[in-house]
Amino acid sequence: MMMILGVPAPLLFGQVLLGLINGAFYALLSLGLAVIFGMLNIINFAHGALFMMGAFCSWMLLNYVGIGYFPALFLAPLIIGIFGLVLEKTIISRLYKLDHLYGLLLTFGMALVIEGLFRNAYGSSGMPYRIPDMLQGATNLGFMYMPNYRGWVVLVAVIVCLATWAIIEKTPLGAKLRAATENAPMVQAFGVNVPRLITFTYAGGVALAAFAGVLAAPILSVNPNMGTSLITTVFAVVVIGGMGSIMGSVVTGFGLGVIEGLTKVFWPEASATVVFLVMVIVLLTRPRGLFGKSA
């Protein structure tokens, strides 16, 4: 068997793949957080809870309505996105004139409510979600056997991240978004309905989280706590990357996932904390974050 740095190659590549999957979730979530922060100036603490709702939504679609994985990949983000739209319209929009910290506290409260309700209804133990038949099995890549579903998650996540980047950086809609992030009143004075843009931005960020949730459903067990364990790590990812750049969020997300995977191979005890350690190093050397802009 091939060995790399004293570690069997399949184990190493396996962990890198797992890292990429975690990285995919980090990237999708931190991307949404960054986009929402840019427009709304709030850190959406409920992001983890909405990720969890995405997973639950696909589970419910399957078990209550009989709608399978692939339709759920579109439907769940749509449904949760609409839920986010309602949240923004009815609750979050009341906060824009206040200190940013209130947005964090409000969405933290939301996260507690959402998670508490799901825990009441479904308990804390996880529920399985079967990998769709088409993505069952594994492919021999020569140096390792790759479970098809895991390859699919990484592929789809990369595509969605790139698509989000392209929408924001390369389209007229994206130009409006970027301009409104810089100077919202001026953009509104040009005739753009900025409040509506804000609402849809929130819904879009939420839909990204829900999409990640659907992708995660067959990998992690679908349970009410799956979001919170992720969101604190995602916060560290956001601090490391800085929220100034879309591509930065994506690269940081995937990169940290891989670092985490490699740590599992070489120093398993530290794998849960390595992202935070990286954050400490970044804070010491580049407090603004790797891709952060000044101020």
Binding site: P185, A189, F190
Partner: protein, 231 residues
């Protein structure tokens, strides 16, 4: 075309405009003159709805604007070129130019804009709008609102801090768009420049309009004007 009556505006606790009255006829170029802090920029922002609180009446083509959001004011056909120019650094020059949505037919085409502002054509590929020189930024800020089809333009100190040759170019632009039937409300510190483009001048002081001088009577009122502006 634009009729403003008893306009009051506040920033938080401070009362900035104390009952501003004036009007602009269709096809006119009208200036607001006055010292720093007289309330000229606040008047512009109040028309657009960019102040936290305002009262009074702003009628545009007969429709009341006082309770509209900035985007609705813009959609009714008024476009602003703000004093700070508001060129977006995260947008390319072309993106900046194309940012304001077209709200009505009759705006200038891109080709016409490039004919008016040849520099912008050369710089169209510049990645960051804020990389442009001050004069180029000012041209971009004017150019982008000419595209939208808005026929009423608010230009807030377009010549501030610019080289004479560029000031001349902006003067030519204003005369050109007047010829095309645009209506312009212009805020100026520099009344010598204002005299070359405007039909009438309103003088503001302490948040009020205190006088109106038609451009052809400017010479006769020079002493009065010097006193108003303290120059």
């Amino acid at each position: 075309m634009l009729e403003i009556k008893n306009l009051n505006s506040w920033y938080g606790e401070s009362h900035i405009l104390h009952g501003v009255d004036f009007n602009v006829q269709e096809g006119e170029v009208v200036t607001l003159l006055g010292r720093n802090g007289a309330g000229k920029t606040t008047t512009m922002k109040s028309i657009m709805g960019l102040v936290p609180r305002r009262e009074g009446s702003i009628k545009f083509k007969g429709a009341e604007l006082i309770n509209l959001m900035p985007n609705q004011v813009a959609r009714s056909g008024i476009a602003i070129c703000p004093e700070e120019r508001a060129i977006f650094g995260s947008l390319t020059v072309t993106e900046n130019l194309m940012l304001p949505p077209v709200i009505a037919p009759g705006g200038l085409s891109i080709d016409e804009i490039y004919t008016l502002f040849p520099n912008l054509k050369e710089r169209a590929r510049t990645a960051q709008g804020t990389r442009l020189s001050g004069g180029e930024q000012q041209m971009l800020a004017i150019a982008r609102i000419l595209r939208t089809g808005s026929k009423m333009l608010l230009l807030d100190e377009p010549t501030e801090g610019l080289a004479p040759v560029i000031v001349q170019q902006i003067g030519r632009t204003i005369r050109e768009i007047k010829k095309r039937g645009f209506t312009v409300l212009l805020v100026e510190q520099n009344f010598r420049f204002a005299a070359t483009v405007a039909d009438r001048h309103y003088v503001m002081e302490h948040g009020k309009v205190i006088d109106m001088i038609p451009n052809d009577q400017l010479a006769a009122n020079m002493d009065k004007l010097h006193e108003y502006l303290g120059v």
